[in-house]
Symmetry: C2
Subunit: 467 residues, 2 copies
């Protein structure tokens, strides 16, 4: 860690200097500061010293220069919906809130891309696109800001067909720790002109630069959508059906697993008439003929693996009813243990190991007596477990911590990753050495030092263990 | 540029030290050295001082450590098929030939990935995969090595559907300039666990590390393939049909433009009965029903833009006959001006600007009286021009240089890139400042300095203007 002379004095001076340019758009109100720190899981809430509301790329550059001059940490803030402590301020500093930078600058329908500010959320964008025949497919669940989604390499239910933020960001404008403004690429769909700075910033969690503008790839709205729900006797048979469907080149748009705990929770919560067995929920995009064909072919595959019947429809309303279980899952799971705190965590493995990883994880959940529903974006080998934790019981917290550690180690042992889509933040830093090894981690750190030599951008996150 | 004490002495010492570990697998034969330098275009052939044939990752690490200890440049070599001088050795040094590292280490059919050494070529891999129902889709034309394809972010005809090397590399093992061995990621299909070192190395042209192993994503072989050929009255109408097809969410697998010069050349060369007008060649992958449906829908779109008739087939032999024009294009164009040297170059623009960029470029070709056929991977906005140059005529060389410069500037002005897939190498370094601006280029250079502080890996390429 870099030495910083008396941070508090420095930070106070930075706040004073920022007030000169921002006026009322910088605040030290405790309520606002608290709202800008991580609050969603069991991580301590570590507030910034002030929150600055930026309104342009140039203004972000000014803010960054002032912070840099006063050795003051800077934490970019979108909607604060990340789970792993990404917006905490363990060394204090300035939260740079980008939510007011929420203009959709251009929609280039013929090029199938758009240019947006980082505070635009994915739902805002998709509402705006409604009449263009295009949509932005990445859907992590929360109505997150697109800048935050890029910064955390967000993903979600559509990724199996449309990719993650890695695949759907064409170019970024970002302010570097020295206040310089870079544009990582131009608007061409592909380029071989230099290092892929776009992909370097996507997933960098605000530690290399602050994203102030994005060029995003858009997809044509499918002419038809079919979707449905399919019960399976075991998690393994469901996973095997997923592998077979993907190997058969069925271009599934979404394929979600709900384990029997989640299915039971939804049944109790929503009164849906569900089998209390593992469920797959699927969605197909294409022409009316092709979605019908895809649905029928998946039904046959499910049957071959002991699953089914696959109830599907291409009518919007019926499809919504069949997918109801997925949308209710979060709230239904909260109701499994009222008062407990959900601690969502995720891992991702090569899909052939998915059934093993899920089964072993579920066995441990049972052995430990945890209430921990499991859902998965199984087409990518990615699944989430959400232990419901009694935060007044330190022994239980320890047990759950141990459980998550073993789940991550299991995924890594299976050539998987400690996080498929939630990111590293503070909580998963401890696994990076096991996942990547010391030389790869050293390479990441040398990049961090090259771009942010004073460790001022989101310190204590990702590859920085100093806080 | 870093200062290097008397390179020649250093290099001689490095060769001596390498001989100790490699024996006959290092050579200073002029013929071998020449074959390991760039020879495909008008760039001077700059030979390395020696060529080392490596057989394992550990051996590459040993070679790199010896070169580093003797301040000796290292140039990774696959098949030498890059166009922009990528394998030239402007400061001498050691060409590290990876062609003997050509083992397919694993095919994980259920995970739809494979692990290969860098010397495996794409055709070797696809032959090996023949009975698995899977294939590796990236097809740049040449039977290039997969390590070289990753290093140059190769692309080609299939990219519109299957993506480029950027999208199809899951993880890399690489030897860094300090001799350290990194593995950039694990085998999970997605991850949010740290900086995207995979994408940083893909397209880094051997300037940050030498790729010694790759995990590649495979795709299911389509159940059916349909393809065909469609004439258009003008390049613009062909481009408009491309945009409409892609916006209609027709999942075209390949969509190639041949301009009327190329079409005429093929007609003369192959005796195919072709219209001497711009042609689109298309391929569709899917189920038998869906490829028929896609072909019919494209035929309607073509007609709406004044093109057609669209002759297509889902029979392998007929399809091959229809696509013959594309396969003959290279040789047919050589025959346009016997004895002249083809100078292939490429740019890429947002697809809505493609017709403008192609038309303006073709207008200049006519005005200058050049013989310069044009073909394009038009679904991505990427096109190639290949002036046929009389290398004994310096005035003509100057004219063609000016033409290429203006073509690149035109593409960049249209928010495109100086190269969609050929890479930067030596020849396109001069455009990076115009394309990216000084701050972005400075960021790239700071990464280069952080990873390769002594500028020993492929010096004089990409962001290094010192040679």
């Amino acid at each position: 860690m870099t030495s910083r002379p008396s941070p508090s004095t420095d930070i106070a001076q930075a706040i004073e200097a920022l007030r000169q340019i921002l006026g009322k758009r910088i605040t030290t109100s405790a309520a606002v500061r608290e709202q800008h720190a991580s609050q969603l899981t069991w991580l301590p809430t570590q507030m910034p010293n002030a929150v600055a509301f930026a309104e342009s790329t140039e203004e972000v550059a000014e803010i960054v220069k002032i912070c840099a001059a006063h050795a003051t940490p800077m934490i970019a803030f979108g909607t604060g919906t990340a789970f792993e402590g990404h917006v905490n301020a363990p060394a204090g500093g300035i939260s740079i809130d980008l939510s007011r930078m929420n203009r959709i600058i251009a929609v280039n329908a013929e090029d199938m891309d758009c240019v947006v500010q980082p505070g635009v959320t994915r739902q805002m964008l998709n509402s705006h696109l409604r009449h263009t025949g295009l949509f932005f497919p990445v859907d992590p669940g929360a109505d997150a800001s697109l800048g935050g989604m890029a910064a955390t390499r967000a993903s979600g239910t559509n990724a199996v067909r449309y990719g993650t933020m890695r695949d759907n960001v064409v170019a970024l404008t970002a302010v570097l720790p020295n206040g310089g403004i870079v544009r990582t690429a131009r608007r061409a769909r592909k380029s071989s002109a230099g290092y892929d700075l776009t992909r370097l910033l996507v997933g960098s969690e605000g530690t290399l630069g602050i994203i102030t503008e994005l060029v995003l790839r858009l997809s044509p709205l499918p002419e038809a959508v079919a979707g449905g729900i399919c019960p399976f006797p075991t998690v393994r048979s469901a996973c095997d059906a997923v592998i077979a469907a993907i190997q058969s080149a069925i271009p599934v748009a979404r394929i979600e697993l709900l384990d029997e705990v989640t299915a039971g929770a939804v049944e109790a919560y929503s009164g849906l008439n569900l089998a209390k067995t593992p469920l797959l929920l699927l969605e197909f995009h294409g022409s009316p003929q092709s979605v019908a064909e895809q649905s029928e072919r998946f039904g046959e595959i499910a049957e071959a693996f002991g699953g089914g019947p696959f109830a599907w429809s291409d009518k919007t309303e019926e499809r919504a009813k069949l997918w109801q279980a997925r949308h209710d899952a979060y709230w239904a799971c909260l109701a499994l243990r009222p008062g407990a705190r959900p601690i969502p965590t995720d891992v991702c493995v090569p899909i052939a190991r998915l059934a093993d990883c899920v089964e072993e994880t579920k066995r441990e959940i049972t052995e430990l007596g945890l209430i921990a529903p499991l859902v998965g974006h199984v087409g990518d080998g990615n699944f989430h477990v959400q232990p419901m934790v009694d935060m007044s019981n330190p022994a239980e917290i320890d047990i759950v911590r141990g459980f998550i550690e073993r789940m991550v180690e299991r995924a890594i042992r299976m050539d998987g990753t400690c996080t498929g889509e939630h990111g590293v933040g503070q909580e998963k830093r401890k696994y990076l050495d096991l996942e990547h090894g010391p030389q790869t981690l050293a390479m990441m750190r040398s990049i961090k030092r090259a771009i942010d030599p004073n460790n001022l951008m989101n310190p204590g996150k990702l590859v920085d263990n100093s806080l």
